[in-house]
């Protein structure tokens, strides 16, 4: 007979039966009955049965049969909360059991009591718990240690009042390693909810104890201890090294969590070691094998390991530079593992291994999974950009892929373009003839793939010997092609003509006549009309520029993690933060004031030990690869935005780099839009493609922000309380420059929502419609959170006021100046571009108030060279007035001091991307000016913070 019998539903009558059994004299019967009750509780299907029998089950508690006792305890943990009054009945037994001679029972009782979340019981728990914390048996002590954490969760005040925290701290010095480990675990858990409490105030002595316990406790205990060690800040490099030495053996542990926690400690303390040290090199060597070993574990472990390796590779690429092969993808890896491996392969790609990597990537291009293939092909492009010397090979690879290009493009559609784009992105040598592309390979694909192929041919026309043949072959079926392909073909042939004018004249004429004679798709007619006109009227130089204009240079890996964030994430190796590549503050529920962690500064051993603060420190000097791509010209970049209508299919790409930008195609398209607009003027039926999507590819708006913005949109003008500083609207786009459309606007932030308040005026004589807006990538990832809501067409001389909600989840690129925002606005007439500067304070978030102690520590921690001083002139306000004014814009006063008649305000603020800025504001009564000192880990924001201060204070 097995337990599955318990799964049969209990009928009504059985309750009585069970009741009788529970009260039976026979132990065996009782036990069976309790088992039945528990089984029904595990399935959760018959709660009432469990409830109805509560008193009967509790009665079974007083028994000397351990199994029965355990079962009843199990039951109590689940039901006590719903029957608090009855649960009291059990208290006596618990208290008695806490004094049982059998340590197993003592521990069990204290453990169970801690799990019963009933206030009345909690009161009775204190005494037994205190005894158990000092129990002679370590098993009981270690159970009691965890119980303190449980109790703290129920009633934190009680735990503090009863002094349990101190007892717990004493347990760190316990003789038994298991007790130490559990005490550390409990303290860490409690500390998480009290970030400032200094519970785990570690000193060299306690560190020594932890390190001793580390060798002897269970694997789980080792994890707790290692995680705790990682929070310690060694006072000099010698101490760091000695800790590292004692942690290193953990790298050979069979438990991968222990390994990863050890890696975290080492990665962190390595920061402090000098690179010339022999030990530094040894340590680097020791780190690689365990990381690789993690990859032979189960796929779930692999995934987490890979996410962490991704961080480690960015921080210290030297560790795994020789281990490329272990990241090669196996065909039956789960997709989440495959994608991670691919990402790391790109990061590890270097000149030395590029051939290997490319061969491997090519192999992936024939895989079944479309998503993966797409990423693999894109990876080829990224490799090309990353390793300049690889370009040639990529082009070659591209071509050998071209042989199988058909399937590749068919599957990957536009991302095939990326590969081509990759070849282009890096400076091209003169050589590398792409040779002959096989025409048959591009015959019967989807239009997208064909368009992509044609684009490649056009782009590299001078290096593809049979480019003209190829393009000609497409002309045969010109009329059957989709507009997209036709446009591409037209552009490609014009490009070809510009590169090889003599041989291809005929071809151009052919395509132009084909395109113009055709009454069909409007854009095409327009484009070809334009071309013919251009070609006729401006022979020679003209077109070389627009048609064959090169893409702005893009850098590789635009998805590199920003260095300060990376440093922070390194401190979170092995945690959820490392899986999501976001600091815990960004996602941990209710973020209970999690302390920002940072890597320890590097100190030389020559530095005097007593003044570690004074050591010139700062983020690691190792030059990280550039995160910020060189900025292309405004127009080029904006053109590269996914402005195209969805039909283009490009917006599905969500590329890291400025997306592939069929620059010329877009130009043609703009002509098309013009036509389209005309159509919509002519008649309602004539309206062409609608600009339905606004922010293609950008992730969904921040939760809440979209809605909130909508509701507040109406009241922007009047409903402003005057609290947050908002600059008056300024004209951003004069009507002269935008064919009659005038845009003025400003930025504001209200209850967590950033919005761009726009005033659109139609100063032309025709109706404007089909408005849409798009931002270029910018320093803080500002992006529209919702489409531009202009429902009715804008009549001449009409003005419309709109508040466009923004979020900060767009793609990031550092701009110069930092707060520069480039905007594209489209209407039925044309696309217009303008750039504007936004005040930084719209990015100050609501939870930007730092704890006092944190503030002090952070202030000290930020190197002095990051401090910037500014003067705000003519501001005759009192300290309090300034403080409250600033608070309205989310600059929080952490502390106020009066020094020699001067009022000092210490303030903190946080930007949407998690950068903290600390400020000290000095106010001299009598003098009208304010002195502002700003300290921030990213000193480049300081001047903009100052600007924001000035704006707010003078508002």
């Amino acid at each position: 007979m097995t337990d599955s019998k318990y799964f049969t539903t209990t009928k009504k009558g059985e309750i009585f039966e069970l009741k009788a059994e529970l009260n039976s004299d026979k132990k065996e019967k009782k036990k069976e009955a309790v088992k039945k009750v528990i089984a029904s509780m595990t399935v959760g299907k018959d709660v009432s049965t469990g409830m109805a029998l509560f008193p009967d089950v509790v009665n079974c508690m007083q028994t000397d049969n351990l199994e029965l006792k355990k079962l009843v305890y199990l039951y109590l943990m689940n039901y006590a909360k719903s029957q608090p009054d009855m649960a009291i009945m059990a208290v006596n037994t618990f208290v008695k059991d806490c004094e049982d001679p059998n340590p197993l029972i003592r521990a069990l009782a204290v453990r169970t009591m801690g799990c019963i979340r009933v206030d009345k019981i909690t009161e009775y728990l204190c005494e037994p718990l205190r005894k158990c914390l000092k129990d002679e048996d370590p098993y009981v002590r270690k159970t009691a240690a965890v119980c303190v954490a449980k109790l703290h969760d129920i009633n934190a005040q009680l735990v503090e009042d009863q002094g349990f925290l101190d007892t717990l701290k004493d347990l760190i010095s316990d003789s038994n390693p298991m007790v130490v480990a559990n005490a550390v675990a409990a303290l860490s858990e409690i500390a998480e909810s009290h970030p400032s409490s200094n519970l785990l105030d570690l000193n060299p002595q306690s560190i020594n104890k932890l390190l001793t316990a580390l060798n002897e406790c269970t694997e789980w205990g080792q994890i707790f201890i290692l995680d705790c060690l990682a929070n310690y800040m060694p006072k000099d490099d010698r101490e760091a090294q000695s800790i590292c030495e004692r942690v290193t053996p953990r790298l050979s542990h069979a438990n991968s969590a222990v390994v990863l926690s050890a890696v975290k400690v080492l990665m962190k303390f390595m920061e402090m070691l000098s690179k010339d040290l022999d030990y530094y090199g040894t340590l680097l060597k020791k780190l690689a094998p365990p990381l690789v070993t993690l990859l032979s574990a189960e796929p779930e472990l692999q995934y987490v390991a890979l996410r962490n390796i991704n961080l480690i590779v960015q921080k210290r690429p030297e560790i795994l530079k020789h281990e490329m092969k272990v990241f090669f993808v196996k065909y039956n890896d789960p997709i989440y593992v495959k994608l991670e491996k691919l990402d790391i392969m790109i990061r590890l790609a270097s000149q030395a291994n590029i051939a290997q990597v490319l061969a491997e990537l090519k192999e992936y291009a024939t895989e079944v999974d479309v998503d993966f293939v797409r990423k693999a092909v894109r990876a080829i492009g990224r490799c090309a950009i990353k390793v300049e010397e690889a370009v040639e090979r990529v082009v070659e690879r591209e071509r050998s892929l071209g042989a199988s290009c058909r399937e590749l493009l068919q599957k990957s559609g536009p991302s095939g373009l990326v590969a081509g784009r990759g070849a282009h992105g890096a400076p091209l040598g003169t050589q590398s003839p792409a040779g002959r592309l096989c025409p048959s390979c591009v015959r019967r694909d989807q239009p997208q793939a064909r368009a992509a192929m044609i684009w490649i041919v056009g782009e590299y026309a001078e290096r593809i010997d049979n480019a003209d043949e190829l393009l000609e072959s497409f002309l045969e079926g010109f009329h059957d092609e989709s507009t997209q392909v036709q446009l591409q073909l037209l552009t490609a042939i014009v490009k070809l003509f510009l590169k090889k004018p003599t041989e291809t004249q005929e071809l151009v004429q052919q395509v132009l006549s084909l395109a113009t004679q055709r009454s069909g798709p409007v854009p095409l007619g327009a484009a070809s009309g334009l071309y013919s006109w251009l070609l006729r009227s401006l022979p020679g130089l003209f077109a070389q520029e627009p048609v064959t204009s090169a893409f702005p240079n893009i850098s590789e890996e635009t998805d590199l993690i920003e260095p300060t964030l990376l440093d922070e994430l390194i401190c979170y190796i092995g945690t959820l933060a490392s899986v999501y590549h976001k600091p815990p503050t960004a996602f941990v529920e209710g973020s209970r004031g999690i302390v920002h962690k940072s890597l320890p500064p590097r100190t030389g051993s020559s530095e005097s030990a007593e003044s570690p603060d004074a050591a010139p420190s700062g983020p690691p000097p190792s030059e990280p690869p550039a995160v910020i791509p060189t900025q292309g010209d405004l127009l080029g970049d904006l053109l590269n935005l996914d402005l195209g209508p969805p039909a283009e299919g490009l917006d599905s790409l969500a590329l890291p780099a400025p997306s592939l930008a069929l620059d010329w195609a877009l130009t043609a398209q703009r002509v098309a839009w013009a036509r389209e607009g005309l159509d919509s003027l002519v008649g309602p039926g004539g309206a062409g493609l609608a600009w339905s999507v606004l922010s293609p590819g950008s992730p969904c708006p921040e939760p809440g922000s979209g809605l909130g913005a909508h509701s507040s949109a109406g009241g922007v003008g009047s409903g402003r309380l005057g609290q947050p500083a908002v600059a008056p609207r300024t004209v951003w786009l004069p009507a002269m420059k935008a064919k009659g459309l005038e845009i003025s606007g400003t930025f504001s932030r209200q209850v967590g929502t950033i919005s761009m308040d726009l005033l659109l005026t139609n100063k032309a004589l025709q109706v404007m419609s089909d408005f849409a807006i798009q931002f270029n990538r910018n320093s803080f990832g500002l992006a529209p959170a919702a489409p531009l809501q202009i429902h009715a067409p804008l009549a001449p001389n009409q003005t419309v006021e709109i508040s466009l909600p923004l979020n900060t989840v767009g793609s990031v690129m550092k701009m110069e100046p930092l707060n520069n925002l480039q905007v594209a606005v489209k209407n039925n007439i044309d696309v217009f571009y303008f750039s504007t500067l936004y005040p930084l304070h719209i990015l100050f978030v609501e939870d930007g108030k730092m704890e006092r102690q944190m503030f002090l520590a952070t202030w000290k921690d930020i190197p002095n060279e990051n401090e910037a001083q500014f003067q705000i002139k003519e501001c005759p306000l009192s300290a309090d007035a300034v403080s409250s004014k600033l608070q309205g814009s989310n600059i929080f006063t952490v502390a106020k001091r009066n020094v020699e008649g001067q009022d000092m305000l210490y303030q903190s603020l946080k930007l949407t991307n998690g950068i903290w800025v600390l400020a000290e504001l000095r106010i001299q009564p009598g003098s009208p000016g304010l002195m502002l000192s700003v300290k921030c880990r990213a000193p480049e924001v300081s001047p903009y913070v100052y600007q924001a201060y000035e704006t707010i204070v003078k508002n």
Binding site: L74, N182, E192, V259, P290, S296, E300, N332, T575
Partner: protein, 402 residues
């Protein structure tokens, strides 16, 4: 810490739930390729997939995900250990024991006792004999005393162990992970080795410690001695355990014992294709390659396959499009071959992907890395225990690309 644990079967049905404190939101996914870490508005779900069961744990605060995953695997291992299999039926049949086990393994989300010997002392595994005895005598299968190993510095060993026969067996199992490309050259290969052992106090000496540069040890191994003398000195745990696992990756040390010749092609514009696979031995150091099984995931468009094999039998699963060829032993004189035609769905385009071959094999009495246990000394025993070392080489993730 670990908040609660759910077991979910393939069809997405939840069949066991344990709440450690309060009720947690249940959220289940039943797709393959479920990412192991899922975030929900209030919780994080960390899951593993073992034997058609998802073990899902819910966490609320920042917890190392590997910690949770390792623990979940440990839970699955324990079930396997107790019930012989870790299946839905086994768990349902033993639900109360499962519950008791989880209670012992977790306290408030902190792992408590995860060593199998300790657990077995606390909760005895179900055997038919025991259940008969229990039902007659009314005794329980729950240990009454504190497990001795729980607190010692060597939790893997009970304090007073008595064995009726003193034996020490070492299994050296090596698995070759490799990716072989189209032309037959090795893209990537490494050996995952495992030393399994059985009890007594021992010191093992290994012929070529340099092989073991990347190792992970069972906690029983004295790391200091390994560092200084390169010998494995340990007090072995009770029962079966994994003593060390190691990885050999340098190309010249990884010999590939089999080769595969293959032609898998599809004709343009016709709904058929060719399939021809031959497998042969290579660098097997005079030992026989046996237990060979070749599996190929054919493209979706494949309807059926018409093949003949010179050796062994093959099956084609038309639903999953998987062909499994059970070859058995490879005799070098007559190489096993499987060939024939592939029929595609009418009108389907030529499949794009190249199916990979997955190969399993076994070689007895050989550790392919050349690793040998030179000596095995036992101390603290008056009598001479029986010692035995067994070598076996297996295919791990061994793939041939076409």
């Amino acid at each position: 810490m670990i908040h609660s644990l759910f077991l979910i079967n393939c069809s997405g049905e939840m069949f066991l739930e344990c709440d450690y404190f309060f009720e947690a939101q249940e959220k289940a996914t039943d797709v393959e390729n479920v990412p192991p870490v899922i975030s929900t508005p209030h919780h994080y779900l960390i899951s593993i997939y073992r034997d058609k069961i998802f073990f899902v744990s819910v966490i609320q605060t920042e917890v190392p995900p590997l910690f949770v995953i390792e623990f979940l695997h440990r839970v699955a291992d324990t079930f396997q250990d107790y019930f012989g299999e870790c299946s839905e039926t086994a768990i349902k049949d033993n639900v109360v024991i499962v519950y008791e086990l989880l209670e012992e393994m977790l306290d408030n989300g902190f792992p408590l006792a995860t060593e199998s010997n300790i657990l077995k002392e606390l909760i005895k595994p179900p055997t038919i004999l025991r259940s008969v005895v229990n039902s007659i005598t009314g005794s329980s299968n729950m240990g009454e005393t504190l497990p001795t190993g729980q607190l010692s510095n060597i939790p893997w060993r009970r304090a007073v162990v008595k064995y009726t026969n003193n034996e020490a067996y070492f299994d050296v199992i090596e698995e070759i992970d490799a990716i072989i490309d189209k032309s037959g050259s090795t893209v990537f290969a490494e050996i995952q080795g495992v030393n399994h052992g059985k009890p007594s106090c021992a010191i093992g000496q290994i012929n070529n410690p340099r092989l073991l540069d990347d190792v992970s040890f069972h906690p029983c191994i004295r790391f200091k001695r390994w560092e200084s003398e390169r010998v494995l000195s340990f007090i072995p745990p009770d029962g079966n355990f994994r003593l060390i696992s190691y990885r050999v990756s340098s190309q010249n040390l990884v010999a590939i014992p089999v080769y595969v010749k293959h032609i898998i092609s599809f004709k343009e514009n016709s709904s058929s294709g060719r399939f021809d696979v031959t497998i042969g031995p290579k660098q097997n150091m005079g030992k026989t390659v046996e237990g060979v099984i070749v599996t190929v995931h054919m493209p979706k468009a494949v309807l059926n396959m018409n093949l003949t094999s010179t050796q062994g039998s093959y099956t084609f699963d038309p639903v999953l499009k998987v062909i499994t060829w059970d070859v058995g032993k490879i005799t070098p004189q007559k190489l096993p071959n499987l060939k024939g035609t592939v029929n595609l769905q009418a009108g389907a385009p030529k499949p794009e992907e190249n199916p990979s071959l997955n190969i399993q094999f076994k070689i007895q009495q050989l550790a392919i890395s050349g690793l040998k246990v030179n000596r095995l000394d036992m101390y603290g025993e008056k009598y001479k225990p029986f010692k035995g070392v067994k070598y076996i080489t297996k295919a791990g993730k061994f793939q041939v690309r076409t």
